[in-house]
């Protein structure tokens, strides 16, 4: 055991097969104590399998996970009291109230001193004390799930897609709770497919696709190391712009505001593109040239993996 290690989580060559299919394919990474770590990936990338092996729900096919200095497959019942888990699609007993649910989980951990009121205040559920679980909205259920994950005052908190399926307001409410935990210095392991969530909360982001980690680092590092291209945004365009850009061999996309976004691999392409639009008699009212954001980096990295079938680990750290 390496209890005094600076790492809360160490994952070594982790692999998980389901009936011949590889859900997690020989991944390795570490999470420092007090760090917020986000595992970011599209649906079916292997996020949940990875987190469920680390938080003791599943067993790996091969590889090793060291949690707080202990091998998870051999020390499940020693590790469990020291971690808190919000599994994907958290659910609880329908006819049990918010307060009773927290009391129940607190009793499972034999915690007599858990401050249930403080927990309910933390997740902003104090006015729902007597509401039964089945009568809570999706966002409130997730917040209760987070509170349940905290009843044993864990050293590491695992949150598997904590905001999936929530409306923007409920998502922000959950983020506020997570930011509060971050301030308290908890080690948080988060899986998500929302870029802004990872960008807002995480110190370190690992991008996973097809069971492999394709890039890892802080959000800034990921952008820096993978932004080997530019993004040009043409605002308030007329109909011809899209066609002109496409004819040049670029891949224009409309965003939600109706503006056109184009990925350019070379700086010279900016002038070439603008000249072509002008020569074609098309017009636009605004222009923005910038480096890609995390979402664009994510799309690039996961698309590459999906196209190539495999990709090497790009360690940014």
């Amino acid at each position: 055991m390496t209890q005094n290690s600076e790492y809360a989580i160490e994952v070594h060559n982790l692999t998980k097969h389901y009936k011949g299919l590889s859900a997690v394919d020989n991944i390795s990474f570490t999470v420092k104590k007090g760090e917020v770590f986000a595992l970011l990936g599209p649906n079916g990338a292997g996020k949940t399998t990875t987190v469920e092996i680390i938080d003791t729900i599943r067993k790996p096919t091969s590889g090793k996970v060291i949690l707080l200095g202990m091998d998870v497959t051999r020390n499940k019942y020693t590790i469990i009291p020291r971690i808190g888990v919000l599994p994907q699609g958290f659910s609880s007993f329908d006819r049990i109230t918010v307060k009773e649910t927290l009391q129940f989980y607190s009793r499972l951990f034999c915690r007599r001193k858990t401050d249930i009121n403080a927990l309910m205040a933390l997740v902003n559920l104090k006015d729902k004390v007597k509401v039964k679980y089945k009568n809570l909205s999706g966002g409130l259920k997730q917040r209760l799930g987070i509170a349940v994950a905290l009843v044993n005052d864990p050293e590491i908190v695992f949150l598997d897609e904590p905001t999936t399926g929530l409306d923007p307001r409920a998502r922000r409410a959950v983020w506020d709770v997570l930011l509060g935990l971050k301030k308290k210095g908890k080690t948080i392991f988060l899986t998500t497919h929302y870029m802004e969530e990872a960008e807002l909360l995480a110190d370190t982001v690992a991008i996973i696709a097809k069971g492999k980690i394709t890039a890892m680092g802080s959000p800034g590092e990921l952008i820096e190391n993978n932004a080997d291209y530019l993004v040009i945004l043409l605002k308030s365009v007329d109909e011809n712009v899209f066609e002109i850009v496409q004819k040049m061999g670029f891949l224009p996309v409309y965003d939600s505001h109706g503006d056109i976004r184009v990925r350019l691999d070379h700086t010279d392409d900016v002038r070439r593109l603008l000249n072509a639009v002008e020569a074609g008699g098309a017009s636009f009212n605004g222009l923005d040239v910038r480096k890609p954001n995390l979402e664009e980096v994510f799309l690039k990295l996961t698309e590459e993996t999906l196209l190539e079938g495999s990709a090497g680990i790009k360690e940014a750290k």
Partner: protein, 382 residues
């Protein structure tokens, strides 16, 4: 607080208790579940008890068509009436007997022939040529219980015959009960209903709760807490046992108040209820694990429950069934709960109860251990 030592008995007892509290709260907050668990078996006892209470002192309906209409034929009808076993409905001599029976749904009708009195005079006089006076019994062979009714009529007629002959009977039989008290059908029925109600509630309770919690992901969440498989199964068993004790107490109370049943209540009752719960919660746990979907687990529970309900002697004695079904009944665990409960509650036969308890005890043990071995809280499929 030392949370590292999680596998101690005290901590496990706390976990089991916490689970039981949540289960009980979930139970009483769902009124339909309370109805089916507590009220339904009571309704069964009330309905079947009322039906069969009548049967214990049953007075049969009997239609009589007197074609002779003489003093002798009227005396015969009166003699049948005086036996107090039949309520007689006279049928007009002008009526077509078969048509009457069909239209009025009469399953047994006695027709006194036109020359009845004359035949009786001949029979009792010096000119008797040894031919008995004949009545016609018109009956519907498809009617339930008609053979019993014919048997009772024959018995009454035999009594009248013997009385008319003026000679004492050559052979008589004296009924001696093997039981210490006089028992009625309801005393047979109540232990069977207790066994069946505990079985269905335990089996479906375990299947429904576990399948639902697994599908919703609650079991996956529980697998990230200190609760173990043994804690989980034990809390399921104890919760079902508490409900079974309450339900049994209510069933017995109603049976005493409404039917004034005479049943022995002793420690065997608790033993058999506990073994019933252990067996069928364990079986439910196995079904939940083997059948992947909640619906298929419930269907599998149905497939197990129905043969047991009808072939284990819950509603009628196993001895009424054909021999091969009697042999089949003896491989059904509920048969031994039924037999054991009746041995202790009706016959007060402790040796027979012990024998049944040992058999169902072995079954409960095997099923419980298998349940622990194959139950998983984490939803891992491989």
């Amino acid at each position: 607080m030392n949370l590292h030592i999680i596998n101690t008995t005290i901590i496990h007892a706390n976990i089991i208790w916490a689970n039981i509290i949540v289960s009980i709260k979930s139970f009483y907050r769902e009124k339909t579940v309370v109805f089916f668990r507590i009220a339904f078996p009571v309704i069964l006892i009330l309905v079947f008890g009322t039906i069969f209470m009548e049967r214990d002192n049953e007075i049969f309906d009997l239609s009589v068509q007197d074609l002779d209409r003489t003093t002798s034929s009227e005396k015969l009808v009166e003699a049948i009436r005086l036996s107090k076993r039949f309520k007689i409905t006279p049928v007009s001599p002008a009526a077509d007997a078969e048509q009457y029976a069909r239209i009025n749904k009469r399953n047994l009708m006695v027709i006194i022939p036109k020359d009845f009195e004359m035949s009786m005079m001949q029979k009792m006089g010096p000119g008797d040529i040894g031919i008995p006076v004949s009545l016609t019994k018109l009956y519907d062979p498809s009617a339930f219980g008609v053979t019993t009714k014919i048997g009772v009529l024959d018995m009454v007629l035999a009594g009248i015959n013997q009385e008319m002959s003026g000679k004492p009977p050559l052979i008589v039989s004296e009924p001696v009960s093997i039981l210490k008290k006089k028992y009625r059908f309801i005393e047979f029925f109540v232990p069977g209903i207790i066994a069946m109600a505990v079985m269905t509630a335990s089996l479906f309770g375990a299947v429904n709760v576990n399948a639902e919690l697994r599908q919703k992901g609650v079991l996956r969440k529980l697998s990230t807490t200190p609760i173990t498989r043994i804690d989980w199964i034990l809390s399921n068993v104890l919760y079902q046992f508490i409900l079974a004790v309450v339900s049994t107490a209510v069933m017995l109370l109603v049976s005493y108040i409404v039917f004034n049943v005479s049943l022995e209540i002793n420690a065997w009752l608790v033993v058999f209820v506990a073994l019933d719960v252990f067996s069928f919660v364990g079986l439910g746990m196995i079904l939940t694990r083997v059948a992947r979907e909640a619906e298929s687990a419930a269907a599998a529970a149905d497939a197990l429950m129905f043969p047991m309900m009808f072939l284990s002697g819950t509603f009628f004695p196993v001895e009424m069934m054909p021999e091969f079904l009697q042999k089949f009944a003896k491989v059904l665990p509920l048969y031994y709960v039924n037999e054991g409960l009746r041995a202790s509650m009706v016959a007060a036969d402790h040796m027979a109860a012990l024998k049944c308890a040992l058999i169902i005890g072995v079954f409960a043990g095997v099923v419980f251990i298998l349940g622990i071995m194959i139950t998983k809280l984490d939803g891992e499929t491989t």
